[in-house]
Symmetry: C2
């Protein structure tokens, strides 16, 4: 179909689609004349993903491009693991953490039995988060940390169990999109569950 | 102490501290002369919290001000619940969701037994996240959603069990800071646990 029809189907302005083409997020269509190109269902699907990464995921154009490049790269043995690193690095945030905090994060992760995370970008994310909690003087015991870690390990199990095994391309797409898209969902669930538990404990009066 | 000493203790430039004073994030010190003010340990603590909200939490000045106002507001009966709404609203993100997605989120939350969430700002956050996942064509079954929800409900239980009950001011501070600060920690844990589980399953080779 032509770009005007692609715009209609995806509910995006033609200018936005041209912008994504220029920025290399959307692969070019098939040239049907010197001035016209044709687009297919794969373009519709891709635009849905782009919109989600930038809209829901809140990624910049540059980060969205990196995530899409990871999705497009040819699958190799050990993909999900390889992919996780690319996805995590592309999504960020890159947070610098002090050596002391990093050492603490490493020790915790070792205690939780999560293997070989030295190269995982999320290690400094955890270290910085713990640094922040300490700096804000928010009490957080080791026992509570362990409880959170055990629950998030079970979330990760659900994540990995859901990876489609049929097609490598689908697996790759799922891992990357799942990392970006499931995070806001999980955080929303946590907040709603807090709310529900709090209403049960304190009554609905306070929320008016 | 004087502002120069406050800067030294908090490792922040004097200009930044003056900026936080002007923006109303940091309460003024006690005037000791017409041109000098004196700051105390509470100012040191407050600056630690401000840095964390803006740095680790990634809040804007306006959102940080709203969160701090919630922390400062006098405690009332039913605080944690009331506070949750304020904290969630201040932290955002405010994500618009379609009516259809909202209806779906409402139905799910009812199935999970989380009470009285109609006014919870996180309801549209959940709806928008689910909308995004669907738009990206990422497969996510109801059974998997239920599994995630059950785990996040247990995370919320740990959250609420940790709220200090001694002083209302501390409880308030903990609820707000915990919401902002624990989110990056939980997400980092999830990513690290994914990584560890993926290494176990696929071997460390891919991550080089």
């Amino acid at each position: 179909v032509r770009i005007s029809e692609l715009a209609r189907r995806t509910d995006l302005p033609v200018g936005t689609i041209k912008y994504y083409l220029r920025e290399g997020l959307l692969p070019p269509g098939t040239l049907t004349s010197t001035t016209q190109a044709s687009y297919d269902a794969e373009h519709v699907r891709r635009l849905g993903l782009i919109r989600v990464l930038i809209g829901v995921g809140g990624l910049s154009i540059a980060r969205a491009r990196a995530v899409l490049a990871a999705i497009d790269s040819p699958p190799r043995p050990g993909i999900p693991h390889d992919l996780l690193g690319t996805a995590h690095a592309a999504i960020g945030p890159e947070v610098p953490a002090g050596e002391e905090a990093l050492a603490r994060a490493r020790a915790l992760v070792a205690r939780w039995g999560w293997a070989d995370v030295e190269k995982a970008p999320a290690l400094s994310q955890l270290a910085a988060a713990l640094e922040g909690i300490e700096a804000a003087d928010v009490p957080l015991s080791d026992a509570t940390l362990d409880r959170y870690a055990a629950l998030m390990a079970r979330v990760a199990e659900v994540d990995l169990a859901s990876v489609p095994t049929g097609s490598p391309a689908e697996a790759v797409r799922f891992v990357v999109a799942g990392t970006v898209l499931f995070e806001p969902m999980l955080l929303a669930m946590r907040r709603l569950a807090q709310w529900g538990a709090s209403v049960e404990r304190f009554g609905p009066g306070g929320a008016s």
